[in-house]
């Protein structure tokens, strides 16, 4: 279903369900999880 949704967006039929802001926010979390864990659980402000 994800590939179908992507195909719809590629062909201009519908916007893709994942916004670029969401994709970036999820990687900001991953980046912070890695850095926080490496620092023993220190909170990271984004």
């Amino acid at each position: 279903m994800n590939f179908e949704a992507w195909a719809d967006a590629v062909e201009g039929r519908a916007p893709y369900r994942f916004t670029l802001e969401q994709l970036l926010a999820n990687i900001r979390i991953l980046d912070a999880v890695t850095r926080s864990a490496a620092a023993g659980g220190k909170p990271i402000s984004l």
Binding site: W6, V10, F18, A25, N26, L30, T34, P43, I44
Partner: protein, 285 residues
């Protein structure tokens, strides 16, 4: 019909080829893997052209789109090159391993004006769709807290030299395999994250290999979240997938498979329950 090339023909790349085989929307015309000897029988059986260098795949005019299904550290280089070549790009998760890397990919996407797809297919699972419907209907009220635990030991069986067990590609225990899907889910429900605190541990794996990660995430709208992933509990077919959302009006838990808390502790019982309930998603609450 979108003519697609698959970059990376390991376990998941082959899965994607199989998944697209019957699609009326896609035709797999080419594939790429640095291990052409490994990939050649698969490419022949699936009737697509095989190359050993992804740049040769990007140079083809009969390829409209590519799926990047390679070890995580390679995603940025390949996605950026694909955008520069004017291709539509579907990238497996995680999109990137650092914020700066993700920003470079998104900048290349914006410049190319094509569409970036991402391998977070779990958003489309029926229990998660139902959770979204409840959320958007207002039945939950304001989301106060989200809690998720997704854990399995599938990668434990892999050879320790596999890149999926290499912390350069897969930092923070199972985050890039499991937690990343939950991060996507939480962001889709709660928006912008503003603070993260996470711990990892080596509970059973010999250090420095990590098998535990748990993170608290605060969101700008005041919602809180906790995501925990262990790499050691037994895998039993489909992934257990439990997300609980506590709203100001009600509380809902969604599980995308058949299990309940009652059987989560016993692998044998889980197998029995799976057989008895035929794999339909269940919603609790």
């Amino acid at each position: 019909m979108i003519r697609i090339g698959i970059i990376g023909l390991g376990w998941w790349g082959k899965q994607i080829v199989a998944c697209l085989a019957d699609s009326p929307r896609f035709k797999v015309v080419a594939g790429c893997d640095i291990d052409t000897a490994m990939a050649a029988p698969f490419a022949a059986a699936r009737k697509f052209d095989l190359v050993g260098d992804y740049k040769a795949l990007l140079a083809r005019t009969d390829v409209d789109a590519v799926a990047v299904v390679t070890p995580h550290l390679l995603h940025e280089e390949m996605a950026v090159a694909a955008f520069a070549a004017g291709k539509q790009v579907f990238c497996e998760k995680p999109l990137a391993l650092t914020t700066a890397s993700a920003e470079r990919i998104l900048a290349a996407c914006a410049k190319a004006g094509t569409v970036l797809g991402i391998g977070h297919e779990r958003r489309f699972e029926s229990a998660m769709e139902e959770m979204r419907r409840l959320f958007e209907s207002g039945a939950l009220g304001r989301v106060l807290h989200m809690d998720a635990n997704v854990s399995h030991n599938n990668f434990r069986k892999m050879d320790p030299s596999n890149w999926r067990r290499d912390p350069r590609h897969a930092p923070a225990a199972a985050w890039t395999a499991l937690g990343i899907h939950l991060g996507d889910m939480f962001v889709s429900f709660a928006g912008k994250p503003v603070r993260v605190a996470a711990r990892t541990a080596s509970q059973i794996f010999p250090a420095p290999a990590e098998d535990f990660v748990s993170a608290e995430i605060d969101f700008e709208n005041g919602a809180r979240g906790r995501i925990t992933c262990l790499s050691t509990p037994p895998f039993y077919g489909r992934l257990p997938w439990c997300v609980t959302k506590v709203g100001s009006k009600s509380r809902k838990a969604a599980m995308s498979t058949r299990e309940s808390h009652r059987v989560l502790s016993t692998a044998g019982r889980m197998g029995a329950d799976r057989a008895a309930t035929s794999g339909m998603p269940t919603r609790y609450g």
